[in-house]
Homo-oligomer: 313 residues x 2
């Protein structure tokens, strides 16, 4: 019985595949990139194709028992620039996947949503899963719509699908300057001596979760999540952009560099704070984050420094 990861070649995917292999699973990755451009651990199968192509996905799911849908073609920033592309490049493929999955004896399917965007401006903190969902980005709206399709396919067709809502992941292998991932962009900026832009007095407050903890949470939801339900994945701790930069500054000092910050006015499309309560996932699976923020930031920084040494930045 294979565990199939859709979009498993990105930042979260590479950590997730590691976590799945550690549980002894047989992993198949499906992606849009050509096979020779994909770097996967030994023993992991790869299939190139378009998930919204009904014939392709029906063939690909033969022998598959678990599915994790990680693929997404946009980030909040690009979704503002082109909301129609955010719809067209994300909704049809995941809906086609859910629909195709109803034809197979799937044990569990995980849809990776976005706890950082589906709630919108918080009415209370930390945010629990029953908080109203009023996203303020097209990205958050399509993520939320896909959660609703997931719930509907469970209700109507019995598809055992679980949604997870991660807060803001960070860690090794996250790429900077793509409009998502403040830690990555801040570290890359420090190393390149570029200015880090902060919007508002201390910037926004986010719940930063180490990507290894997120990968374990997805596996926990795969093993223990109740179909039709959604689960926050976060740390219950919020940190402002300025606090993150202060942590990075301590490490940068050893390399004799200093962050350069420019302060900009608050942007209307940033929620002021996003901190998630993950007690629901903890109570069904025992999962909780293991990585301390300081240690996670150190590991990530070391990865960035090694990338710079290899000419990446």
């Amino acid at each position: 019985m294979k565990c199939c990861v859709i979009g498993g070649t990105g930042f979260i995917g590479s950590h997730l595949i590691q976590a799945l292999l550690e549980t002894g699973r047989d992993v198949l990755v499906i992606g849009r990139k050509e096979k020779n451009r994909v770097n996967l651990p030994g023993g992991v199968a790869y299939l190139q194709g378009d998930v919204s192509d009904a014939e392709f996905i029906e063939n690909a799911l033969e022998g598959v028992g678990e599915i994790i849908d990680l693929a997404y073609s946009s980030v909040p920033k690009t979704s503002f620039e082109d909301p129609l592309n955010d719809i067209l490049s994300n909704l049809p493929s995941s809906v086609a996947l859910f629909n195709a999955a109803t034809h197979f004896p799937i044990k569990k399917i995980i849809y990776v949503s976005s706890g950082g965007t589906v709630y919108g401006e918080p009415l209370f903190l930390p945010i629990t899963e029953d908080h109203p969902t009023n996203p303020i980005s097209p990205y958050g709206i399509t993520k939320l719509a896909l959660e609703k399709y997931a719930k509907m396919y469970f209700r109507i067709k019995g598809l055992p699908i679980v949604s997870v809502r991660p807060s803001n992941p960070y860690g090794e292998m996250q790429i900077g300057f793509v409009g998502q991932g403040f830690v990555a962009t801040a570290m890359a900026s420090v190393l390149m001596q570029k200015e880090i832009r902060i919007f508002g007095e201390n910037g926004t407050v986010r719940d930063y979760i180490y990507v290894g903890d997120l990968a374990r949470a997805i596996v926990a939801a795969l093993e223990y999540g109740s179909p039709g339900e959604c689960y926050n994945v976060g740390t219950s701790i919020g940190r402002s952009n300025l606090e993150v930069i202060e942590e990075i500054a301590v490490l940068a000092k050893k390399n004799a560099i200093e962050p350069r910050i420019s302060f900009m006015p608050h942007r209307p499309f940033d929620v002021s704070a996003n901190i998630l309560d993950a007690e629901k996932l903890h109570s069904v699976s025992g999962w909780h984050p293991l990585m301390g923020f300081r240690e996670g930031i150190e590991r990530t920084w070391e990865w960035y420094v090694s990338q710079q040494a290899s000419g990446q930045y």
Copy 2:
């Protein structure tokens, strides 16, 4: 200042245009049909075009002060048969419309959502606007997603957009056998001596609102609705399919015909009951339904009988 109705040539649209004309408004209708296939009251302008075409809609909105978005290319039944088409034929055009509207000095824009589908299985009755929204049809999901875009464009760009959530409209000019509109399908079935299928013991319970009352509610939301908010439009009264048929049977008896009913098992994609509390719209606008169910059914029946006399059924 023109009031622009997108998709104004259908069942609700024709009643709405009448209500708008009665308030003295200058009405422009935008639709996909050719002009010579559209039947509009004198003085109403018509523009044929595709709303998702940015250049077309930017030109069309010149001089427009109010917009009502009624266009929808699917009904719940067809959305199940082809969920991708439900996405592709509805989301891009309304999002493009909202986006284009941000470039004009629009006084108010109304998005006509669906109170009959966005809530899903009710946790309490009658349903208020803060009830959870977990649609169990693709149609309900795309309607809900468009409400979220509406709210986002208000929050981010200040677009003065209001969503209305009608219950189940019925009345003259509703067409039967299109997978939506139980009253229309039941009346047409009786007149054609076709069996009416009821799913479950008494069928589902719905909140039937006379289309003239709905048209006045949309005008009330246009005049008094608060931007960023959504408003139920319903009667707070639920009727089972069987109760509706009993009302029709009284009228049919005069024509010496009798409804023929076949009972089918309950369908998993039907919510058992949907009854809406419209106190929120009442409190801001004074609107409330004026048409009694018996009188509304009588008018609708008379229209159907006249249609049959003219060879329509």
